[in-house]
């Protein structure tokens, strides 16, 4: 028979200060653990939301990002005519030939330089990316040196408001609108006319071709056609979401890897803290343990009671940690995406699996920290325990 739960629960709160201090340590570790996972998830979400399921992106083979991809104008036009590409009502291919360059702007506050992605687009680009909508001002006019900027750039960089003129590519560009990418990477981009931007940067080639498939199932057929046509075989096609997910892997993997290593080191400290607390609990309650054993409770009941006490402690810490981390979803940060070398703004994203992972991690801390003290409690000699003061 088990030692009553009320004994375990109340014993935990009988020594408030040590319990509170240990809880603080466990809470902080669980908080860091959850925050790291949330940050990594935030990067992934930002990049995945950047893509649409029935869009496909064509880049030069082995190009790891839009920045290093090059596609010849003629070949891009050929690909737009492939039968797998959807058509607009006016019969034009539903595709955008785009160029991608990086410029520098000064950040607000720190005055540091940050890299900004500039995307030159075709008129079809807005319809291909329905998640991008105008928030303020108006869209740029094709054939002019007007641009629109994402909300993150508007919030985080200097001279990034409607009416401001910014210099790049040897000329001035007027900001005429702010667009909302709904948390996607487009929030961190500048958009303008592809032809104007290519002319300014003296680039004769596109970076990518973005197309809308007739249906999502046409992807394999398009892939085969591009591979088999000698004019286009130097390129490769990817589903847009897959491409952006790959773009996020380096950064999210780095955040997760580094973050988890740091968390594990912290957790060793927290586990030692929990272990000391539980050893102290065993030492303080030696006579109680002796009494329970004399009354007929078995060793495994004592082991279970102390282990449950430690797990309870860590589970409470885990819950507090997750609760604290949930406030981080209000925070938005910006850093350089390794995939594009430009600024990417993203938030902390909390998800049910992150809560579960954090609580499991907390339980593991509780088991590891509480096991040895619990074994010690269960192995106490009854007589020696009863004699202790």
């Amino acid at each position: 028979m088990k030692i009553p739960f009320s004994y375990t629960w109340r014993s935990l709160w009988a020594r408030r200060l040590t319990t509170a201090l240990t809880l603080t340590g466990l809470t902080l570790v669980a908080f860091v653990f959850a925050a790291v996972l949330m940050l990594s998830r935030g990067v992934e979400n930002t990049m995945i939301e950047t893509g649409s399921p029935d869009n496909a992106i064509i880049l030069r083979k082995s190009a790891t990002s839009e920045l290093v991809s090059q596609i010849d104008r003629d070949h891009a036009n050929i690909m737009k005519t492939f039968p797998e590409v959807a058509l607009l009502p006016d019969g034009k291919p539903f595709a955008s030939t785009e160029t991608f360059v990086v410029i520098n702007m000064r950040k607000k506050g720190s005055n540091d330089m940050g890299n900004i992605s500039v995307r030159g687009v075709s008129p079809e680009a807005m319809e291909l990316r329905p998640q991008v909508s105008l928030k303020e001002g108006r869209w740029f006019t094709f054939g002019t040196q007007e641009i629109v900027i994402g909300t993150s750039i508007n919030e985080q960089f200097q001279n990034a408001s409607i009416g401001d003129r910014i210099a790049f590519g040897g000329t001035f560009w007027t900001i005429v609108g702010v667009v909302d990418g709904q948390g996607s990477a487009f929030d961190s981009e500048v958009w303008g006319d592809a032809n104007q931007i290519m002319a300014a940067f003296n680039r004769p080639v596109y970076s990518i071709v973005l197309i809308r498939l007739r249906s999502a199932e046409e992807f394999d057929a398009l892939k085969l056609r591009i591979e088999q046509d000698p004019r286009t075989s130097y390129t490769e096609v990817k589903r847009e979401q897959v491409f952006y997910r790959e773009q996020s892997q380096a950064l999210s993997g780095f955040i997760k890897g580094l973050g988890l290593v740091v968390t594990i080191i912290f957790s060793i400290g927290a586990m030692i803290g929990a272990m000391i607390t539980m050893y102290a609990a065993v030492a303080n309650r030696t006579r109680e343990i002796g009494t329970l054993r004399a009354l007929g409770f078995r060793r495994r009941s004592v082991l279970g009671a102390f282990l449950i006490e430690s797990i309870l402690l860590s589970l409470i810490g885990g819950t507090f940690g997750v609760a604290l981390a949930s406030f981080m979803s209000l925070v938005k940060i910006s850093t350089t995406n390794f995939g594009t070398f430009s600024e990417l703004a993203f938030g902390f994203a909390l998800a049910p699996d992150i809560i579960v992972s954090t609580l499991i991690f907390a339980v593991v801390m509780g088991v590891v920290g509480g096991f040895l003290p619990a074994v010690r409690a269960s192995r106490l000699n009854i007589l020696a325990a009863l004699r202790s003061a």
Partner: protein, 220 residues
């Protein structure tokens, strides 16, 4: 019936072997109230612990109602204690985070009794020791005498074969000690409980039917 036959026990203290009990043989019939007296270190508590099954003899046998206690495995011995022994300690040994009711209920958790029956037993035991109105009190809210009476309720709630009491009045003032001894006397006379008690207190020993003296591990 408790039969202690040719029991010897010694402890190791560093490299020394210290004999505590030397070839002790006693017999305690059912319903007996036995007091064990003797100077400190005479082995009386060791004998009590052996009878209660929380220690094992080096030699000899201890039978309680036909069960050879010394031959039981660790877990079987724990179960045997739960069914057959009621403990009364000098310092009461109540669990401080549990109420009087919960402390008394503890040994019943080792039985298969349903919750309702457990409640009835606990209330009966606490009523018997005169603390029916203190069930929800924590040990620190009780006086020493009341704590010991809760401990006695805990000891008798499972209706054990034998009550073992180690200096039950050792930590009490005279009035409380008198109340506790009156209670033990009543348990013995009215409820026919077999009691083995270790005490230094001659007034406590007066209540016993039989007093045995130990000195240097031998009966005198």
């Amino acid at each position: 019936m408790i039969e202690v036959r040719n029991v010897s026990k010694s402890y190791r203290r560093d490299s020394l072997r210290v004999p505590v009990l030397n070839n002790i043989t006693i017999s305690v019939p059912d319903g007996e109230f036995l007091a064990l007296m003797g100077p400190s270190g005479s082995g009386k508590t060791t004998l009590l612990n052996l009878i209660a099954g929380i220690d094992r003899p080096d030699d000899g046998s201890i039978e309680v109602n036909g069960t050879n206690v010394a031959a039981l495995s660790e877990s079987a011995l724990a179960q045997w204690r739960a069914n057959n022994v009621g403990f009364i300690f000098q310092f009461y040994n109540l669990l401080p985070v549990l109420t009087a009711f919960e402390n008394v209920e503890l040994p019943l958790l080792l039985t298969n009794l349903p919750k309702k029956k457990r409640r009835e037993h606990v209330e009966a035991a606490l009523t018997l020791v005169g603390l029916a109105d203190r069930m929800g009190h924590y040990p620190k809210q009780l006086s020493g005498g009341q704590e010991q009476r809760v401990a006695i309720a805990r000891a008798l709630v499972t209706d054990p074969t034998v009550l073992v009491a180690d200096e039950p009045t050792g930590d009490l003032d005279r009035v409380s000690a008198g109340e506790v001894m009156t209670l033990l006397d009543r348990l013995n006379k009215e409820f026919k409980k077999t009691i083995v008690m270790v005490t230094h207190d001659p007034r406590a020993a007066e209540k016993a039917h039989k007093v045995m003296h130990l000195d240097k591990g031998e009966l005198t």
